[in-house]
């Protein structure tokens, strides 16, 4: 299971979240039975049931979260590929700057929203590691969108895309994002499977 450090970290982190309550749930009754009054012991089955139910719900939720993230991630991957293809079309003069930019600008906001949703979802479902991993990229997306000068036609501006190596930097950015999304994809896949198994 310990393929690499990143995954191990992730696994430990992940498991701790899954395992900790389990352990607490098992051990607590023991210690309570031993050290505390019987009243507590009477209530225990109820508590345990509730917890188990909550646990089960959470696991189910987790599965849902990861399935959603997985789908979202797929979409983002496709989007990145689309960006790359369109930009390289522009590089090779298959399309002109105007149509390229209008094509791409259309998808800037969906991409931003798609990524923001995943990030927020991870925050809500308390997957800190994944959240922190996503945060910089999501922030960059939003920053880039906000910082577009008022006179530009969007993140991709046809009048500037050929200047100052912008095309190259856009390309590089799209490549990095594709890599990132692929990484996330496998992460979500793994987490989803894990969640399914645990369920």
């Amino acid at each position: 299971m310990h393929q690499n450090y990143g995954f191990r970290l992730f696994k430990v982190d992940h498991n701790s979240r899954h395992a900790a309550p389990r352990r607490r749930g098992r051990r607590a009754p023991v210690s309570w039975d031993q050290g505390l009054s019987g009243r507590v012991g009477v209530r225990q089955p109820v508590l345990r049931k509730k917890r188990r139910r909550r646990r089960r719900r959470r696991r189910r939720m987790e599965v849902v979260v990861f399935v959603f993230s997985l789908l979202d991630c797929c979409a983002l991957i496709f989007l990145s590929v689309y960006f790359i293809i369109t930009l390289s079309d522009l590089e090779c003069d298959y399309i002109n700057a105007r149509s390229c930019c209008s094509k791409l600008n259309k998808w800037v906001i969906p991409e931003l929203i798609g990524h923001a949703i995943v990030t927020v979802l991870m925050l809500i479902s308390l997957h800190w590691f994944i959240f922190l991993l996503n945060l910089p990229v999501a922030t960059w997306n939003i920053y880039r969108f906000i910082m577009v000068p008022s006179g530009n036609m969007g993140v991709f501006d046809p009048t500037e895309i050929h200047n100052r190596g912008q095309l190259k930097s856009h390309m590089k950015e799209a490549m990095i994002k594709l890599g990132f999304h692929l990484l996330c994809f496998f992460m979500y896949l793994y987490s989803m499977i894990l969640a399914l198994i645990n369920d």
Binding site: E91, R98, P149, G151, M153, T159
Partner: protein, 1252 residues
Amino acid sequence: MSAPAGSPRPAASARIPPRLGGAGASGAAAPAGPGPAPPQQNGPAQNQMQFPSGYGLHPQNYIAPSGHYAQGPGKMTSLPLDSQRGDYYSGLYTVPTQNVVTPNTAGQQPGAQQMYGRVLPAPHMAGSALGSFPGATSSSHVHTSASVNHHNSPAVGAANSSVASQGFPSTCGHYAMSTVSNAAYPRVSYSSPPAGDPYGQQMFTSQNAPPVRPIRDNSFSGQNTAISHPSPLPPPPPQQYHQEQSLSGYSTLSWSASGLPSTQDNLLRNHTGSLATANNNPTSPVADSLSSSVMQNVQPPVSSPVVSTVLSGASSARTPAAACHPAEPAASVTQPSELFQQKGMQYGDYVNNQASSAPTPLSSTSDDEEEEEEDEEAGVDSSSTTSSASPGPNSYDALEGGSYPDMLSSSASSPAPDPAPESDPTSAPAPAAPQPSKVAKPFGYGYPALQPGYQNAAAPPGSGPPSASPVYSGFQQYAQQYPGLNQLSSGLGGLSLQSAPQPESLRPVNLTQDRNVLPVTPVWAPVPNLNLDLRKLNCSPDSFRCTLTSIPQTQALLNKAKLPLGLLLHPFRDLTQLPVITSNTIVRCRSCRTYINPFVSFIDQRRWKCNLCYRVNDVPEEFMYNPLTRSYGEPHKRPEVQNSTVEFIASSDYMLRPPQPAVYLFVLDVSHNAVEAGYLTILCQSLLENLDKLPGDSRTRIGFLTFDSTIHFYDLQEGLSQPQMLIVSEIDDVFLPTPDSLLVNLHESKELIKDLLNALPTMFTNTRETHSALGPALQAAFKLMSPTGGRVSVFQTQLPSLGAGLLQSREDPNQRSSTKVVQHLGPATDFYKKLALDCSGQQTAVDLFLLSSQYSDLASLACMSKYSAGCIYYYPSFHCTHNPSQAEKLQKDLRRYLTRKIGFEAVMRIRCTKGLSMHTFHGNFFVRSTDLLSLANINPDAGFAVQLSIEESLTDTSLVCFQTALLYTSSKGERRIRVHTLCLPVVSSLADVYAGVDVQAAICLLANMAVDRSVSSSLSDARDALVNAVVDSLSAYGSTISNLQHSALIAPSSLKLFPLYVLALLKQKAFRTGTSTRLDDRVYAMCQIKCQPLVHLMKMIHPNLYRIDRLTDEGAIHVNDRVVPQPPLQKLSAEKLTREGAFLMDCGSVFYIWIGKSCDNNFIEDVLGCPNFASIPQKMTHLPELDTLSSERARSFITWLRDNRPLSPVLHVVKDESPAKTEFFQHLIEDRTEAAFSYYEFLLHIQQQICK
């Protein structure tokens, strides 16, 4: 410097066949290279020397070939030709003699006259050529037949036909002579030179005059008819010209375009009918159908030329102007001596009927992107392969000779003024030409800015070995003036460079000690360190300049030098001489699509090697025949290979659609503000005067559209009794009330247009509408123009306040002089940018005239022109009566604007040698793909800049080439390609890179980059970057000469002006801080930096200061019979201003004459016409025409300066004590101001930064 040259040499010589051997070595020779370069670089050069009488060396020599031509036709006329030849000969060459002989005519032709002096030798040459005719002809004939034997039949056809076509006595070069033998164009016509010149006569007599030969005297007709007396042939009937013209205009179109116009015509006609009904009955179907808006067709009172009666929603009570029909027939040919008068007709000379580009179906191969045309180089069409090449002056520019004298030695002719011809033994065979040219130079050269650089370089006193002298002679000149320093620093410099004759441009200059870095003569472009032949062939620096005339071998070397690498282009410059080539196959590289150029190498007779991608291509059959020498088998002597600036007449392969007609639309602001300012009077007046001179042909269309809070269209359909105004008040969803009759044929509806122009200024006098719906008006204009494309001229006087694209005021007046952040340099909305891109897609350019008195957000508005390849004019605080100088400026600018040459639906592609790549473009255009600039319109005043980077090491080459190809539709409906090619050496040592710096080009490129930076980042960033550019380059240079003391600020002589220019940039309106600068002024300055060509931009950055109270004839030049004194340049510092003097400052778009307090009363009286200093009026914008010597000198000097630029500058006379003197003093950039360094402080600052 043999070491650096060593490495490229083996490779190069290995590549180049033995015949051309030695090229690599010579090209790679470093500037300091001691040995004279081997004479040949490539095929063309070599052959040029073998045939010295060829035209290649000097423009004058072209005459000789033309003489030969005169011969051929007699023999060949019978041959069937189906293509039209355009030979551009000698109109100019011959006229000159006329002028020279009878100088009394000179006064009438200030423009043309000037060049004549230079072309004087022509007739002699012709004469001699004539003498040798029989032999020449027969030999050439033999030659042809020989070729017939050698080649298959198609070749025969080709050769014969081209001989025949060439044969016509195309004595009038630019009067394109059309030779058509097919039935459709039965007239064989050519234009006579303005007759009466002996040359022309000889030409005529020396040949069997073709039977039908009506002479067309087109572009000269107006001007020269008076002179064209003794012509042996009858002067041409003018209408014949027109007829011919129209024929030619349509001949190319007939196959594809005719359908469209005719249907349109029908539509128009139909519409007229319906409109007529509409007029009679406001509720007619037409009106109804359009009734969603308050569009009303109006019942006109017969007396009024333009009538508007708003029937419904008539909130605007608009009283139509009374019918003022000033009987002002737009002067057609009535002002023969008027310089600009000819411009409209100028294309007359281009009548190269393209019958040859005949009926190929458009759909088969069509793309307007030049590179996608079908390539038929190899397969020669048997029937119609003809070619003609004609290095002829193009009359447009010829007529403008006065205003653009500098172009004399342009492009191909640039070698002429080069010192080489005199000193170069190889030019001996053409003794007649160079000699007179030398004599003529002082007279012919009007413009010292660049060309005299060559000229004066001729004999630099005490210059080095001949091989090196021309290169650096420009510098040596002023080096002479500081002999002491020169010796001192050359002593220092000797330490750093091993080779004995150290190039002048590398002489280290201690900037902090050398107080007089500015030369007294204008700074000229450095000449690339190529061998003589290549240098002669190279593109004129006026059109094409590189910041580094020696290209570093690797990006690492470039980084080490810390200098910007880029190109400065002025591709559509008015040229006096331009070889125009009509050829069925335009020879281009098969893989990179480069046009064949002088720097390709011919591997053998049949193959050539592209100099950009190194692919070996075949020479097409047609190319083997040389129309100039009428010989076969000498492809390297074709004009394409002999001239680095050529123009091709493109075939239908280069068209996406039939060439568009010239279409002009004027969008005029008529809100209260605009009427107050009163620009309409000036505009309408200018238009009326220039209506006949608008470039165009019989298809020219024109339209008008005015707007305030509503949009008014003008129906000018032929047949109406008066123009009709159609008002659309629906500005949220603009539509065209009548689609067809708003843009009308200029010639058919001329009367209506004149009526409208006469009425417009008074039509809106009582308007109370203050709003301006610019955005919707532009949308309407776009809709109107989108079917054809063309030019939209927008006149705007305030911030747009209604509809789409409305803007808010963003300027905070309190921040004008802030030293911190300057905001709002970018556009506020993307509306104008989107619109511009839409327009660009429909081949429409938007030119903006902003005549506002308050903030109008030029930063946003300028976008409409920036991206549609338009141009921007800004007249701050314009008022026709309160501000007469601006009014006068507008008037003059408009005259130039309306009559200058124009190219439509243009694209420009810049190619460079493999290994170099372009990454950023500057100018007004839209970059459609990586190296393709889409230019809806191109005008002669547009400049461009490109930044380059070196992607691959250039170690295996010794030369790099850059080629710009501009494909455009001329106003006569011809598709043309203008190609410029620049060739530069590659160097491998840092010292060589520094030796080849072109400091002016570098500054202009830096200015462009700084504009980008200040818009995308911030102004302070841009300023820092400018300072860093100096610091970096000087410290990099300092580190190369490590054995020099580091305490001094040392710059190579080539860079010694760099800090001064950068300081000038920092104090320029665009980049200055701390001085109160209105935002619009700043943005306008930035726009100008982006789109001005180098020559004009340099004046804007660093004005020229002259002392004019003691003008003498010493060193004066003669232009058009006038003596133009050449006072020395003064440095821009108050220390040079003495109270006893009067100074002229030339800032490009404005002249200041500063009069010192105790200026000599004689001067004031003689020049200004005032008795003493006190009586000089505060606002003086003209020098009175006084009949005194000093007045004459001053005026001729100012006129001469003025003639050199497209936009006529305004003259301000500034008294020493007047409040206006701050304007003057802020241009003294070497002085300290509250917010900025003095020059010396700046140097110290740089030194500090370097030491840090």
